[in-house]
């Protein structure tokens, strides 16, 4: 007797069940977004009118969240608003840009060049808005930043305290919920709570009364533009600061040259003594042409590439531990950001193509999931072709095949593998220019610091054929 339990009939789903569940899911997502985006109910206060306007803006931003596919959303980018524009900045922030506002963002860091922008930040790690006049840091709240006068100053200048570029710039920060800190590198810091505002300009950072007071003062320019004598004095004071900062930079450059000289002397001594440079164990991802030939024989590829850099990565402490200078942090994170941009430029369209053209979905699921999607769809369509893409990528890296051109027809897996497998060496080349070859290698292949993705794919050797070594 064989067991046959199939006579036990189960209950069938009623008509319309899927519709009802999907509707509940939609409603739940709406509620989730709305509760995260709208300020919680509070007693009426004197900034009620302004709060209402913000609630509208937040609701508008929340509604955008729900539109899903039409939403401009990315972990990095830049935007200049011609009309009111809502943008999702990564996974936890929404910005509502008023006409004329301009921002660039990467992860949890925004640079606001000009204009009036409302921000809603979900609680989490520190989120920062950098302006020419001062920086705003928060951990989750609603606030608005107004920047008057665009400058060419970049973040590095700001951190270094090059205030010449900030002359004439002023930022007003109004807080609708929670607490934020407004600071300047050398101008102090002030905490602002809900209903309050503060201003940062060439005279430093200071509280500026209620939201309404702040808006009025900022609108008529009284907070950022003083009478001619005051302005002239401020200008002179800033000039002094500029000279001081330049001297500091020259001093830093001197230190860097001294360090480079010492490193070069050490290497020379080691080479003359017959010592081998870089005696540390070689990473399995530090692949030369011979390594790639071995992998190609086995039908394998390996790739190491950095995660998206976050503010605070490669901070002074970590850099010091690695024997690097504080200013190297920016070089490293910039190289990582460029790496991410290069990879995403290749993987994003492949992912969207696999998803039937849905670029917005590719943006939402991100690089990691997209890699799996491209793989999976390629396998489903043509498993042998996908395997061949892996083998060919290994052979190209081994120098056994020429690198295909950007417009050359190759399959999606091969294209993706080429994008991923080349990154470690590309970044190494970039960092070598600034850090020297040993430090560059240590940053990329060492395990000291940072977040890296180490991946490998293997499909085995071909049954026969393939390029000759």
């Amino acid at each position: 007797m064989s067991d046959d339990w199939s006579a036990w009939e189960p209950e069938e789903p009623p008509d319309g069940f899927a519709d009802r569940v999907a509707e509940r899911a939609r409603a739940e997502a709406t509620q989730r977004t709305a509760s995260g985006s709208l300020p919680p109910a509070r007693p009426m206060r004197r900034w009620r009118a302004a709060g209402f306007a913000v609630a509208l803006a937040a609701a508008s931003a929340a509604a955008l969240l729900l539109r899903g596919s039409s939403l401009p959303s990315a972990s990095a980018g830049d935007a200049e608003a011609k009309n009111r524009e809502e943008i999702i900045l990564g996974p936890r922030a929404i910005a509502v840009l008023e006409p004329g506002a301009r921002i660039t963002w990467r992860g949890d860091h925004v640079t606001q060049a000009r204009g009036n922008v409302f921000y809603r930040i979900e609680p989490g790690s520190t989120f920062s808005v950098e302006t020419a006049a001062g920086d705003v840091t928060v951990k989750g709240t609603c606030f608005r930043v107004k920047v008057r006068e665009e400058t060419q100053m970049n973040g590095r200048d700001m951190k270094a305290g090059v205030l010449g570029a900030a002359l004439g710039a002023a930022a007003l920060v109004g807080v609708y919920e929670g607490k934020v800190a407004l600071s300047q590198p050398k101008g102090g810091s002030v905490d602002i709570t809900a209903g309050q505002s503060a201003v940062a300009d060439s005279r430093g950072v200071r509280a500026n009364g209620s939201l309404d007071d702040g808006n009025r003062a900022f609108a008529d320019g009284s907070s950022g533009k003083d009478e001619p004598l005051l302005a002239a004095n401020a200008s002179l004071a800033d000039s002094v600061k500029v000279y001081k900062t330049r001297l500091e930079l020259i001093e830093e450059e001197k230190k860097k040259l001294e360090k480079d000289l010492a490193a070069a002397q050490d290497k020379l001594a080691a080479a003359e003594g017959g010592a081998q440079l870089g005696g540390a164990k070689k990473s399995e991802f530090d692949l030369g042409e011979d390594d790639w030939k071995q992998l190609a024989k086995q039908g394998q590829v390996k790739a190491r590439y950095p995660c998206e850099p976050k503010p605070g990565d490669y901070g002074p402490k970590a850099l010091d531990k690695m024997g690097l200078r504080p200013e190297d942090g920016k070089t490293i994170t910039s190289a990582f950001a460029a790496s991410q941009k290069r990879r995403w430029a290749v993987i994003r369209p492949l992912c969207a193509q696999a998803l039937g053209g849905a670029l917005d979905v590719a943006d939402k699921i991100g690089e990691g999931a997209c890699i799996a999607v491209v793989q999976t769809i390629a396998n489903q369509k043509d498993s042998a072709g996908a395997d061949e893409g892996i083998r060919r990528a290994a052979e190209i890296r081994a120098g056994l095949r020429p690198m295909p051109g950007p417009d050359e027809q190759i399959n999606s897996v091969e294209r993706m593998m080429l994008a991923l497998t080349g990154e470690a060496k590309t970044i190494e080349g970039e960092l070598t220019k600034s850090l020297g070859p040993d430090d560059a290698k240590r940053v990329i292949f060492g395990d000291d610091e940072g977040c890296w993705k180490n991946n490998g794919w293997g499909v085995g050797p071909r049954a026969s054929g393939g390029p000759q070594n």
């Binding site: 999907a22 990691g368 799996a372 396998n379 993705k453 794919w457």
Partner: protein
């Protein structure tokens, strides 16, 4: 394609060598579900609703609670989709059935559901008769098959909750021992033991004709 995961592989970096299963939803829809797309999620529900209802009604008996719990299981899945890890989950259905199983077991443990399998009014048909009625097309044989179904349900109702979960997941949903162990929060060895005992118990109840109306 074999994914050799080294270091910190991406969450969705799964081995995808196996041919796509026609009874599972496609990767593109899964990706949209992970992005909290309600339209894609509706397709997901439509694909798996019968399996979830089948599981819950066999674990808990028929009734309005099945729809309530099925809805809750799908909503939990919707909330968890952004964390859905294709590298860990062999099949989306297994992941969903795990959610539904835990929900059902929790509901039983919290005594939220008082009644179990509704008892049939008619006599049981021994499992030995199954061979004669399973391919039936005439009304009489069809009646016999329904009777058999009721008998199996009654026999299953005498299993412990954990045994029933193991039995149903294995016999009706094709989950491996490892997958069942994860679903019920147990070990593979325990699952094998429970499954063996559950089958023996079911066979004995049906073979010996214990599932009779006067013995319920």
């Amino acid at each position: 394609m074999i994914a050799l995961a080294m270091g910190r592989p991406d969450a969705l970096l799964a081995s995808t060598r196996a041919a796509p299963r026609p009874d599972e939803i496609d990767v593109a829809t899964l990706a949209r579900c992970a992005a909290q797309d309600p339209v894609a999620f509706r397709a997901f529900v439509a694909r798996y609703e019968r399996r979830v209802f089948a599981l819950l009604s066999r674990l808990l008996g028929r009734g309005p609670h099945v729809e309530d719990l099925a809805q809750e299981a799908f909503l939990r899945a919707f909330r968890a989709f952004p964390r859905f890890d294709a590298a860990r989950e062999a099949r989306p259905s297994t992941w969903l059935l795990t959610i539904a199983t835990r929900l059902a077991l929790d509901a039983k443990r919290s005594r939220a559901l008082v009644s179990l399998v509704p008892l049939a009014a008619d006599a049981a048909v021994p499992i030995a008769a199954a061979a004669h009625v399973s391919a039936a097309t005439d009304p009489e044989a069809e009646h016999g098959r329904r009777e058999l179904g009721r008998a199996i349900a009654r026999a299953a109702a005498t299993l412990s909750d954990d045994q029933r979960a193991v039995f149903v997941l294995s016999e009706f949903h094709d989950l491996s021992h490892a997958e069942i162990a994860r679903a019920v929060g147990s070990t593979e060895a325990t699952v094998k033991t429970r499954l063996f005992r559950a089958r023996e118990h079911m066979r004995a109840r049906l073979r010996d004709g214990e599932e009779r109306p006067d013995e319920r």
